[in-house]
């Protein structure tokens, strides 16, 4: 049995009343393994939970954090909602765009870093919030952007 399958079996136990409740955690595990949700990933999740791949895809397509296309090895997500916007999130986003040479929703040519503009991350008292590989960086300024990108390129 594959490692992913093992992990899905494990998480399934949290939902004794209904295996389909494990779809979200299972999709997250699959995405952690493969980086994104390919056709094969959906088949694996569906098989482990006795569901169809089509059902799993219909669920995944609703949620913002599931990637239905390949993404970069690193993910940079800049909050662009009003509270960060009032304190100039736009400048932070533009700094990432010029540093990476890509726009929001795009991945650098070397496949390393994907840039996204996202909705409120819930860090409104420390604008601008940037989630770097899912970890929040708070009070990010445009001046800090080159350093963050350099850090990502090194790891």
């Amino acid at each position: 049995m594959s490692e992913l399958r093992d992990e899905i079996e494990q998480v399934r136990r949290d939902y004794p009343a209904a295996a389909h409740s494990a779809v979200l955690p299972a999709l997250r595990l699959a995405q952690e393994h493969y980086g994104w949700l390919s056709r094969e990933a959906f088949e694996e999740v569906a098989d482990a939970l006795d569901l169809t791949p089509a059902y799993c895809m219909s669920v995944a397509s609703f949620y913002d954090m599931f990637h239905l296309k390949p993404v970069g090895r690193h993910m940079v997500e800049v909050c662009t909602n009003v509270c960060c916007g009032l304190v100039n999130a736009q400048a932070v986003l533009e700094a990432f765009e010029s540093e990476l040479g890509v726009g929001p929703g795009e991945t650098t040519a070397d496949g390393e870093i994907t840039l996204r503009a996202v909705e409120c991350l819930g860090g409104c008292s420390t604008p601008t919030v940037v989630a770097v590989d899912r970890r929040y960086r708070q009070s990010v300024t445009p001046e800090q952007v080159p350093g963050i990108v350099e850090e990502l390129r090194r790891v």
């Binding site: 389909h20 955690p25 609703f62 954090m65 239905l68 009003v82 929703g105 409120c120 409104c124 008292s125």
Partner: protein
């Protein structure tokens, strides 16, 4: 009385360790509650008049009393805790999970006892990784110490969808489906998770529970702005203010006090133009109403909402049309697509506001904007549509001159100097329904 309750013991640094939490009196109220009958615990919650902190402000004790007792139903009873905090401007639940995770667990266990539930699901928004880890660590410590007894608590992580903060959408999501709200009735108390009786509470409400028992329901009901807005609130202060942050204060302080005294006032050299009051889902507050008290009744009398305790300061460098547009874009992106007025209406709002911002709209389009808002409000299964329409309608009516100036000048009077200039919606993400604007 301005006592810190929910965040007590974590004012300086997070209170994450079990031993430290116990030293601060942690889990004593759980012990006390378990020695009481479930009905007696519910009665204390009713007497305290603790109300839901997620936005609806429904009395928690009464909601718990709607749950049938196990002898009346042949199904398990569920407690689900809503930590899908995604309302723009809201970050209190995040602070609570990071700073007092054991109090969250204790609150869950007391509430579970009150409704005789053995199954607790805490739904944490997917983006909250550190918060999930903090809660998971506390849960592990509590489990190892035997505190959970026969109650199973599972932390369920969302995957990025604002709508899943709506209680029935949350249940759908927890059942492994697309997060689309259900029609009510039946209400979750009768038919919730897996069609079983389910109590759903916001995480701040749940975390307040041990403190309600500790200070006593009668004393708790005296704090804040009784009779309706009792107790404290973790207010979320943000935007163009000197000292933004999560501040726990009693209900009934004024908006002015929070912004000027607690927050140090508006950012240097700027003046206050509006306040995003309660969250992005509600009418914006104008400067003339700054002396309004932060309690549901005082705000309600002036057409405002306490929502999730948001006070976000908008200064004079902000174009109000851009502000309304950015909010409308958010709701367009987050609309689940189930109800036509919301799915289509939020797109119309964005189109019309873009035309106003570009200066290509006509005076009549402003009336159309208000008409579209009117055709959304109250006409959908959940309040997401209303949440898009209310702030937009309030911006149009309260800042009509600024909207008109866009039309008269054929563009934005701020040129490119507005703080929000060029701030577009996250177009790269797949919205729940296709976005073609």
């Amino acid at each position: 009385m301005s006592e810190v309750l929910v965040l007590a013991g974590a004012e300086e640094s997070p209170l994450r360790d079990l031993a430290a939490y116990r030293e601060a009196g942690g889990y004593l109220q759980l012990e006390r509650a378990r020695a009481m009958s479930p009905q007696a615990v519910t009665q204390e919650l009713i007497e305290s008049n603790l109300r839901g902190r997620g936005g609806a402000f429904f009395p928690m004790g009464r909601k718990a009393s709607f749950i049938p007792t196990p002898d009346k139903v042949a199904k398990p009873i569920y407690l689900t805790v809503n930590a899908d905090e995604s309302e723009p401007g809201t970050f209190k639940d995040r602070e609570i999970m990071l700073r007092v995770p054991h109090r969250v667990i204790e609150g869950c266990l007391i509430a579970a006892h009150a409704i005789q539930s053995k199954h607790v699901y805490i739904y944490v928004r997917g983006e909250y990784l550190a918060e999930y880890e903090s809660l998971q660590a506390a849960l592990g410590q509590a489990r190892d110490a035997g505190i959970l007894a026969d109650v199973a608590i599972v932390i369920h992580r969302g995957a990025g969808a604002y709508i899943c903060g709506e209680e029935t959408a949350l249940l759908e999501s927890l059942e492994g489906k697309r997060g689309q709200p259900r029609s009510k009735p039946p209400f979750p108390a009768i038919s919730g998770l897996y069609a079983s009786p389910t109590l759903i509470n916001n995480i701040e409400t749940i975390t307040t529970v041990p403190k309600v028992l500790e200070v006593g329901p009668a004393a708790y009901a005296e704090i804040g702005a009784p009779p309706d807005s009792t107790g404290t609130r973790v207010f979320c202060l943000s935007g163009n203010v000197k000292r933004p942050g999560a501040y726990e204060l009693p209900h009934g302080i004024t908006v002015r006090h929070l912004i000027e005294e607690v927050g140090g006032g508006v950012t240097e050299g700027r003046t206050l133009k509006a306040v995003m009051m309660g969250g992005s889902s509600f009418p914006v507050m104008t400067p003339g109403d700054l002396d309004t008290k932060l309690d549901a009744d005082s705000l309600g009398k002036k057409g405002y909402f306490i929502g999730s305790g948001v006070v976000s300061v908008v200064d004079d460098k902000t174009c109000i049309v851009q502000f309304a547009l950015r909010i409308a874009q958010f709701y367009m992106h987050e609309s689940c697509g189930k109800c036509t007025p919301c799915r289509v209406g939020t797109r119309w709002l964005v189109q019309l506001l873009r035309a106003v911002e570009a200066g290509t709209a006509s005076e009549q389009d402003l009336e159309v904007l208000l008409d579209v808002c009117d055709r959304i409000i109250g006409k959908c299964l959940c309040v997401l549509g209303d949440s898009a329409a209310m702030p937009v309608a309030s911006c149009v009516t309260k800042f009509r001159d600024e909207f008109a100036a866009h039309l008269a000048q054929g563009g934005c009077p701020f040129g490119h100097d507005s703080t929000l200039d060029g701030l577009f919606a996250p177009v790269d993400q797949h919205a729940h329904v296709a976005v073609e604007v």
